[in-house]
């Protein structure tokens, strides 16, 4: 008797893919289609405005709001640098009061009703490195996008959240550990973190606040995932979401260690530039070998389609016959995420403690052998 099981591609090595690099604000792209690029090469420059700060001058100068114009030393639209005089008041009785600018910025707005001054931070110049070895395919100067063809290994997670983000990969924990809040520091801003078996909501919010680009985890609590995916659990996702960081969940719900296959590959990219697409649940690990350019040059990708159908990581699983020696992953709520090799498939049903009769397969992992219903297996391709 033969049995069928769903298949899943978890890792695709050295595929030629398109990666989109985007400026973080208005700026200029400095490469052209057909140009070869290397990871450190600057392909564009953007000027990023980092927000504003409000200062209540009326309160600080101890004057009425409508009078602050008399004391301000800069006009609206004028640039000011940190430590320069912003406002000054001299009084016979109360003495001199000087207000200096707390940061570099531009006087953006003066509110004579409240006495507040809004200081817009000076735009910062941010260079965009290519991040990968590749060939520029298209440039969209208006949107600040550059599409680069590159060689990358792909990891297909189960699901996730968030738009495409990139950064330096940082393996923070072992594959079966929880990522704790204390591990997240400001120095991890714009990094992609590998988080182990579970991430909690407070870790995600801390990561967002320090500007972490993405988190890769084995598991997540359903409640937290619902909170970032519009309150629904639909697979594959029908809508895209973004909470300010991109998350790829590799295994399932609850505490599930990242599979050894995925963790080993991620570890080999520790400290390297990677990209994550949370909404599709895909991790791109671009090759850091310059020789990869040869393969990129010799590969012709099909043209970019307008309104291309989005392919999600959890889509397109097909059924295949279970055979001895196949690598499988245990799915469902018992032994989740455990993977191994099929060494036997029973030809008679076994009555399980749940009361269900099922055909069982014996799966050999690195540490033990398990008898699992064939319905709870997924063939790893």
């Amino acid at each position: 008797m033969s049995f069928l099981a769903p298949t899943r591609v978890r890792i695709q090595k050295e595929a030629i893919v398109r990666l989109t690099r985007s400026l973080k604000g208005n700026g200029k792209i400095t490469v052209a289609p057909g140009q070869e690029v290397s990871p450190s090469e600057i392909i564009g420059t953007a000027f990023v405005s980092a927000g504003f700060r409000t200062i209540n001058l009326a309160h600080l100068l101890e004057v009425s709001p409508q009078d602050i114009e008399k004391y301000i030393q800069r006009t609206v639209g004028q640039r000011i640098y940190k430590g320069e005089l912003l406002a000054f008041k001299s009084s016979f009785l109360k003495g001199k009061k000087t207000i200096v600018s707390p940061t570099d910025g531009v006087v953006d707005f003066l509110d004579l009703k409240t006495g507040e001054l809004r200081l817009k931070f000076l735009p910062k110049k941010e260079d965009l490195p290519a991040g990968v070895y590749g060939i520029v395919e298209t440039v969209d100067s208006q949107k600040g996008h550059v599409v680069i063809q590159t060689s990358a290994s792909l990891i297909f997670g189960m699901f996730g959240s968030g738009r495409i983000r990139d950064g330096i990969l940082h393996v923070v924990t072992k594959r079966d550990e929880f990522l704790q809040k204390k591990f997240i520091s400001a120095s991890l801003g714009e990094h992609i973190l590998v988080a182990g078996s579970l991430i909690f909501k407070d870790v995600i919010t801390t990561a967002i606040s320090v500007g972490v680009s993405g988190i890769i985890t084995g598991g997540i609590n359903a409640k937290d995932y619902k909170g970032m995916s519009g309150g629904r659990l639909i697979f594959p996702k029908k809508t895209e979401n973004d909470i300010g960081t991109s998350i790829v969940v590799c295994e399932g719900f609850g505490s599930v260690p990242i599979g050894e296959d995925i963790y080993e590959l991620l570890s080999s990219f520790d400290d390297k530039f990677v990209s994550v697409d949370g909404n599709k649940g895909i991790i791109y690990l671009p090759s850091f070998q310059s020789q990869s350019l040869i393969k990129v040059k010799n590969t012709q990708l099909p043209p970019i389609q307008e309104n291309e159908t989005i392919q999600y990581a959890s889509e397109g699983t097909e059924l295949e016959e279970i055979n001895l020696g196949q690598r499988v992953r245990i799915i469902g709520n018992s032994y989740p995420g455990v993977s191994g090799k099929i060494i036997a498939v029973d030809q008679a049903e076994t009555l399980m403690p749940s009361g269900i009769n099922s055909f069982m397969a014996t799966v050999e992992t690195k540490r033990y052998r398990l008898k699992i219903p064939v319905a709870n297996l997924e063939i790893i391709l």
């Binding site: 609590n221 609850g254 749940s354």
Partner: protein
């Protein structure tokens, strides 16, 4: 070759709308909500998987109860009630409809029927006395009547009904749920309540459908 393996919850596409607190209410001892929420989410992710343990089967049955409650007839449906308006409960014909393939995932017919009663009938306000009696039908290519569900009207917690089924006497107390085997197609029963009623009568004899379930007397609604 099929492109998908079937599971118990294939026909429910709104399992994520189940209120976890309602789900937990079916489980004793009370589990951690987070565990049950993750269990349900993994079930949505891998609907074809089978529960291995008895406690996992209890969770599956709790999910089934809540899924049926979500997808059963709503009070607003009554105005448009037609034959076959709900896939699990036909109010006009007073039938509980159990897809036969569910037995592959819950082989114990008694537990499966109990889940259907909990999901579809337990909070249902009866429209008339005829809703005291439901026929249980297993549906596949051919229908199989497997028994009946009787929901008597007990007056108080001390109430009881004395039954005579196929010549055997039996007392069923208010607040209990009892399954009585009767493999015949039609089973004769005579009943006499202390205070309550069945089909509007305190005392009567009638013939109800039997089968591999027999009949389930649900006296919990006191």
């Amino acid at each position: 070759m099929p492109n998908k393996l079937s599971g118990l919850f294939d026909s429910f596409d709104n399992l994520d709308q189940i209120d976890i607190n309602n789900l937990i209410a079916w489980l004793k001892p009370t589990p951690e909500p987070i565990q049950i929420e993750n269990y349900l989410a993994n079930k949505i992710l891998y609907p074809q998987t089978l529960p291995l343990t008895a406690s996992d089967m209890k969770i599956e049955l709790a999910i089934l109860r809540e899924a049926l409650r979500l997808n059963g007839p709503k009070p607003t449906d009554i105005a448009n009630a037609m034959l076959g308006d709900n896939p699990y409960l036909n109010i006009t014909l007073r039938k509980i409809i159990i897809p036969a393939h569910f037995l592959r995932f819950v082989p114990d017919l008694k537990s499966l029927t109990w889940a259907f009663v909990d999901g579809l009938l337990i909070n249902r306000k009866k429209k008339d006395i005829f809703e005291d009696l439901w026929t249980v039908v297993l549906v596949s290519e051919t229908d199989e009547v497997v028994g009946s569900v009787v929901t008597p009207e007990f007056k108080n917690k001390q109430d009881y009904v004395d039954l005579n089924i196929l010549g055997k006497n039996l007392r069923v107390k208010a607040g209990s749920l009892t399954v009585i085997p009767c493999s015949k197609n039609r089973c004769k029963i005579a009943y006499k309540f202390a205070n309550g009623k069945l089909l509007g009568k305190k005392e009567a004899a009638l013939e109800i459908s039997g089968g591999r379930l027999g009949f389930l007397i649900d006296g919990r609604n006191v």
